[in-house]
């Protein structure tokens, strides 16, 4: 009875081993440090996929384990991306501005540098001053803290309001979707302080680092793999013990937990906030690999896709979330990237770019109807077979 949570659940070790092996294989096959079988852009795609797997793990915690279908976790993901993007963009612009000002006869003052950065970054939205929310953008540690704090704080405030008033089930889902929409609409405004629909760009360049993208992409890939591994361990630890028992209890019978004397709202709020923070970290690793972030990334649809991945992978099990996010997002990239071969029917040619979403939508319906446990459910079947 009193083993560590890893001993109780060998799938954690299997997962971590697979992740390590995968990281090693990609590294060896990459252009940056290896044989060059895998192009730099594909390394980025894989790195981004790992980040999506991480946010899917967070989604699984809040939905699969706690029973709260949040349609807002991609908003937290996006916020994390924005927070790191602010530093990347600020620092890179600063270097450019300093270099430009160094051309003149007299050295620049700090004020000149700041105003130069302001007009460089915000000229596109008709402003030349850095808004207040950029106060910390000069500092990497502060902005890294914000990657966690901003999504966490938003989740804390929103969750406190929502859970306190006992909004549950689909109502809560709709409310989280409304929150996401509100955030996206806010970010779309030019005076939001985050460059409106231009978003933040040039994030793939690490300021002050001369290494090529082939190497930088691998660094981010490793960081993403590490974050996924740690996130997975954290999630596994959270769900293994009594806390895990309680949140699953909340999922299955909220009032029973309440009458046992647990403050259900606090537990929900804790999970909501922690997962929002994990989502923020995932986003902060994702967008430097994507290179650009704009408000469209935060649109409500993205959060719903997140739910779709977790459902297809199999919720209520962590590896299910990872499988779902990895599988569906990679397949999506393959189909929509134009690599998938078209199917000529004679009278009509099925172009996957056009038909993939239809296939995804319908297969999602099918999974919901016929395989509510998702792909992860297959493992159960295998286990049962073996047990026989």
């Amino acid at each position: 009875m009193r083993q560590s949570f890893i001993q109780k659940n060998p799938s954690i070790l299997i997962f971590l081993a697979c992740l390590a092996l995968f990281t090693l294989l990609v590294t060896v096959a990459s252009e940056g440090f290896g044989l060059g079988f895998i192009s730099t852009s594909f390394v980025k795609t894989l790195g981004k996929t790992l980040c999506l797997c991480l946010v899917a793990v967070a989604m699984d915690l809040i939905w699969g384990y706690t029973g709260i279908l949040s349609l807002g976790h991609f908003a937290f993901f996006g916020l994390g991306g924005y927070m790191i993007g602010m530093w990347l963009m600020y620092e890179r612009t600063r270097l450019i501005v300093v270099e430009a000002l160094a051309q003149s006869d007299i050295p620049p003052t700090p004020e000149e540098v700041v105003s130069g950065i302001g007009s460089q970054i915000f000229g596109v939205v008709g402003s030349s001053d850095s808004p207040l929310i950029w106060s910390f953008a000069h500092s990497l540690p502060l902005q890294l803290a914000l990657v966690v704090l901003v999504p966490g704080l938003l989740a804390l405030i929103f969750g406190w309001l929502a859970f306190r008033s006992r909004v549950t089930g689909v109502y809560l889902s709709i409310l989280t979707q409304a929150m996401t929409l509100a955030l996206a609409l806010y970010l779309f405004q030019n005076d939001s302080g985050l460059r409106g629909n231009n978003g933040l760009s040039g994030l793939q360049n690490l300021p002050g680092v001369s290494a090529g993208q082939d190497q930088v992409s691998l660094w981010f890939f490793w960081a993403s793999a590490l974050a996924l591994g740690l996130g997975y361990l954290l999630a596994a630890w959270i769900t293994s013990g009594k806390f895990g028992s309680i949140i699953r209890g909340i999922r299955d019978n909220e009032s029973r937990v309440r009458f046992l004397g647990y403050s259900v709202e606090v537990y929900k709020l804790a999970v909501f906030t922690i997962t929002a923070m994990i989502a923020g970290i995932a986003g902060a690793l994702y967008y430097p690999q994507a290179g650009i972030i704009n408000p469209a990334e935060v649109a409500p649809i993205a959060s719903i896709y997140l739910a779709v991945w977790v459902a297809i992978g199999g919720r209520g099990r962590l590896y299910g979330a990872v499988i779902g996010a990895g599988f569906v997002s990679l397949v999506s990239t393959w189909f929509t990237g134009g690599q998938a071969p078209d199917i000529p029917l004679g009278f009509y040619t099925i172009k996957w770019v056009d038909w993939w979403l239809i296939l995804l939508g319908l297969s999602f319906v099918a999974v919901t109807l016929f395989a509510p446990k998702g792909i992860g459910g297959l493992f159960d079947l295998l286990k049962k077979e073996r047990a026989k």
Binding site: G241, R256, S263
Partner: protein, 249 residues
């Protein structure tokens, strides 16, 4: 009336839903180690009464006073009331079907209810022993590692009672524990409840007169949201108004 002998005092409580008075100026008391049965026809307000005591429903009027320190339960949340020592068993067995009997018991076991404490919790030897002991009391010793969803109806009822006992409540509210049970199961249930009532207050809401007779305790009859009669079962069943209510005029 001395506070020493009263654990829960409900006085002058009323609540209405959309004009319908579910509870009407209800007063009720129970001592610290007492068994009480509440009976009454459908719509008499039995479940609403439990809802009020456990904090699920806020009354429009009246007071609900708890314990030696005479604190009001009306300002407390459900979780706080439960932590103060009120345990409630629902009519339908509500256990966490996805989890083992052992996990169910561990959740219920009296411990710090804060989320950090739960996160860092590792069961102590004492806790494990207590779970084993309780499992013995409710007769589920050999079922500890099964998923509770796989248990029979009666076993689920016992598990829920066991979980309540693990909470170590001072007042146990039990809603129709015998519904859907076989005769043997009823006897076992009666034994568990009678044993529990030796150390704490137990309020049983029940339809089944036979079961109430078995409990052999003071009976409170509810009708249209207020107390119609109170006393031994023989006493209340002799009451003409109770007969009217049960048999119809």
């Amino acid at each position: 009336m001395s506070h020493m002998s009263t654990l829960l005092e409900v006085s002058g409580v009323s609540v209405s839903f959309d004009g319908f008075k579910a509870i009407n100026n209800l007063s009720f008391q129970i001592g610290p180690a007492e068994m009480r049965a509440i009976i009454g026809p459908n719509g008499a307000g039995k479940t609403t009464f439990m809802d009020i005591v456990t904090g699920k429903t806020r009354p429009d009027d009246g007071r609900v006073i708890w314990g030696e320190k005479s604190v009001s339960l009306l300002k407390m949340s459900e979780a706080q009331i439960a932590q103060a020592g009120v345990g409630r068993k629902f009519q339908k067995p509500t256990v966490f079907e996805d989890q083992t009997v052992h996990a169910n018991m561990l959740i219920a076991l009296k411990n710090d209810r804060g989320f950090l404490a739960s996160l860092l919790y590792r069961p102590s030897n004492k806790d494990l022993a207590r779970v084993d002991e309780l499992a013995g009391e409710i007769g589920l010793s050999d079922q500890l590692d099964r998923l509770s969803g796989e248990l029979s109806h009666g076993q689920k009822q016992w598990l829920e009672i066991g979980m309540l006992l693990a909470q170590e409540p001072r007042l146990l509210l039990v809603d129709e524990p015998a519904a859907g049970m076989t005769l043997a199961e009823r006897e076992h249930t009666t034994a568990i409840l009678v044993e529990a009532a030796k150390t704490r207050a137990v309020v049983v809401v029940e339809h089944d007169m036979e079961f109430v007779r078995r409990l052999d305790c003071k009976v409170t009859v509810l009708h249209e949201g207020s107390v119609l009669a109170e006393g031994s079962l023989d006493h209340v069943t002799a009451n003409s108004r109770v007969i009217d209510v049960y048999l119809g005029r």
